[in-house]
């Protein structure tokens, strides 16, 4: 007719309002737990692939995380520059397939300005080999063209054709403007979820052009060069901030890295972006532990709710236990039934929670990708998530042992007599 599971299911159905509420509580907590886990993993992998397809980043010698911070995340400042001469020499190494120079130091209304070459747009990759895509316009053609990231466009409400003026340096009270050489927005990039979104990108020559009449951070008095005059000048930079390197073979990464680190003309360093990114995540990832702890606590609260629901009905179910004992159920069967009920409630909660999570992911997927460039995976639960699910079931079964133990002790004491 029915096994213990059938009995447990029917008994739960008898108390369906409490059961449904318990399942919803568990579902919401599981939803949060798995949601946080997925967000965490995707944020981490999206962070770890802020720069992909680049084999090495080369800059002045400081520290791997520092170089990564200023060259990729545009945080802090370079301690030193790389001379154009050194750049050319390293770029000419036989193992090197391509290089993209980066020159930083200026800003526009709080956003960093990055000088580079048009090759940047072909070579820069993020995520799982995503290319930069233009939402509007195109790569800079004219000397005074700029390409802006999605966040810049959104916050400043800029479109193609907007003119902008670059400020010397970053922030500070005494901001000095390169007002004599205004730029025009030539292209707007689609969101990437990387620091590119918050960048204004111009050509290396443009960076050079706005600084021809400057020295040591000051405009040279009486030597003003007009925007058009600058066009006629030699705009080869003398130094850059850092450069991205692509190799012919990944296998030569360490050899080239060593060559750069041992470069005698100038103290330089080369870093593997993946390694430096995971080092950096180790620093910023402390919050993820807190987030996980909170969601685990929420699951505990959910299970406590279940425990309450099971414990409060225990008294009115003494009759039920006596009847089961009379037809031959052992006290152990009574124990098993109650643990089973806890397990079934948890399973139902988990299934509902997982469904909720996928619905949420499905709904938010487009929004997050468009607004933050965060690509939440819609894939099946990974090993980590299965582990969490198993942990929730184990915790629920463990929690179920408490009412089960009480019922067990009681049914031994009551036997067939229940005085209600």
């Amino acid at each position: 007719m029915m096994g213990a599971i059938g009995l447990a299911l029917r008994s739960l159905r008898q108390r369906r309002v409490a059961a449904v509420l318990t399942v919803i509580t568990i579902a919401l907590s599981v939803w949060l737990l798995l949601g946080v886990e997925r967000l965490r993993q995707d944020a981490r992998s999206s962070f770890a692939s802020t720069v992909s397809g680049t084999d090495l980043i080369v800059g002045a010698r400081s520290g791997p995380v520092n170089l990564l911070l200023y060259s990729v995340f545009h945080l802090g400042d370079a301690t030193n520059n790389v001379s154009w001469q050194s750049y050319k020499e390293i770029a000419a190494l036989p193992e090197v397939r391509w290089t993209v120079p980066i020159s930083l130091g200026d800003s526009h209304r709080g956003f960093r300005v990055m000088g580079t070459t048009a090759e940047f747009f072909q070579r820069y990759r993020y995520g799982s080999d995503h290319e930069l895509v233009f939402a509007q316009g195109h790569v800079f053609g004219d000397l005074y063209d700029a390409v802006i990231g999605a966040q810049v466009a959104r916050q400043l409400n800029y479109h193609v054709g907007q003119s902008l003026v670059i400020a010397h340096g970053f922030g500070g009270m005494r901001q000095m403007l390169h007002a004599d050489k205004p730029f025009r927005v030539a292209g707007v990039l689609a969101p990437t979820g990387t620091p590119v979104d918050a960048s204004v990108i111009v050509s290396l020559q443009a960076i050079e052009a706005i600084h021809v009449d400057w020295q040591s951070g000051m405009r040279l008095p009486g030597q003003a060069v007009s925007a058009d005059q600058a066009r006629g000048m030699d705009l080869t930079p003398t130094s850059i901030t850092a450069f991205l390197v692509g190799l012919n073979s990944r296998l030569s990464s360490f050899a080239v890295q060593r060559a750069v680190n041992e470069y005698t003309q100038e103290p330089l360093q080369a870093i593997l972006p993946g390694v430096a990114l995971s080092q950096l995540w180790g620093l910023v990832g402390a919050a993820e532990g807190a987030l996980r702890a909170i969601s685990a606590m929420v699951v505990l609260v959910g299970l406590c709710g279940m425990l309450t629901a099971l414990l409060t009905t225990l008294n009115e179910r003494r009759r039920e236990m006596a009847i089961l004992r009379a037809v031959g159920a052992s006290a152990r069967t009574v124990f098993l039934l109650l643990v089973l009920e806890a397990g079934l409630l948890a399973m139902a909660g988990i299934v509902l929670g997982v469904v909720l999570m996928y619905i949420t992911l499905f709904v938010l997927h487009g929004f997050l990708a468009a607004q933050l460039g965060l690509n939440l995976g819609l894939g099946f639960p990974g090993a980590n998530e299965w582990l969490l699910i198993a942990a929730v079931i184990a915790a629920a079964l463990f929690a179920g042992c408490l009412p089960a133990w009480i019922a067990y002790r009681r049914s031994l004491a009551d036997g067939l007599q229940v005085h209600l």
């Binding site: 039920e320 009847i323 037809v327 031959g328 052992s330 006290a331 036997g415 067939l416």
Partner: protein, 236 residues
Amino acid sequence: MIPWGDAMLLSCLDLRFGWDESDVIALSRFEVARGERVFVCGPSGSGKSTLLSLLAGISVPREGHIRVEDTVLSSLPAATRDRFRADHIGYIFQQFNLLPYLGVLDNVLLSCAFSPRREQRAGGHVTARLEAIRLLAALGLDETALHKRRVTELSVGQQQRVAAARALIGSPELIIADEPTSALDTDARDVFLRLLLAECERASSSLVFVSHDMALARHFDRVVKLGARTMQREPA
């Protein structure tokens, strides 16, 4: 060697049982023959309930022996006694006999769920359902009650009939009834008892029937009066 009577389905010898030092029950000899109908009465506190839970194998005596069929219940571990109860004993409570979350038929078939032997004796998995329906009809449960989805909608009398059917299905050797008629009015009580006795006879089950109601005693083969720490036997 314990001098068991061979014709006896159930024999108790020198039973002593109590929760603390004092005995709740002390029985020198209590026997039930195969197919016998025994009426057990006695004042409150005379140990009727205790005797029933000893017979059902829920508890074991501090001293003495209980044998049902060829099995010495009092020397078995708890789990084996539970299995024995499922296989050989049908139990009817005073009232509230039914699991509220099971339908009428499933309540009857609950005995078979815990005992493959009784399911077998009821004719196997499929036939057991038919046997349950037959029993319910024989015990006077009408068609409309049978089809009620919730047993809580049944009257007390109807519930006791379902409980009796559950005790009887699979023809266990021993039926134990703990004041099953005390919640019924006189007419319902007589009808219920008559049908219960008829089905016990049909199944060749012995019946141990506890009641305060001496008016029922005449339906039984024998009356056993329990007194404080003593037991008298007299023919009915």
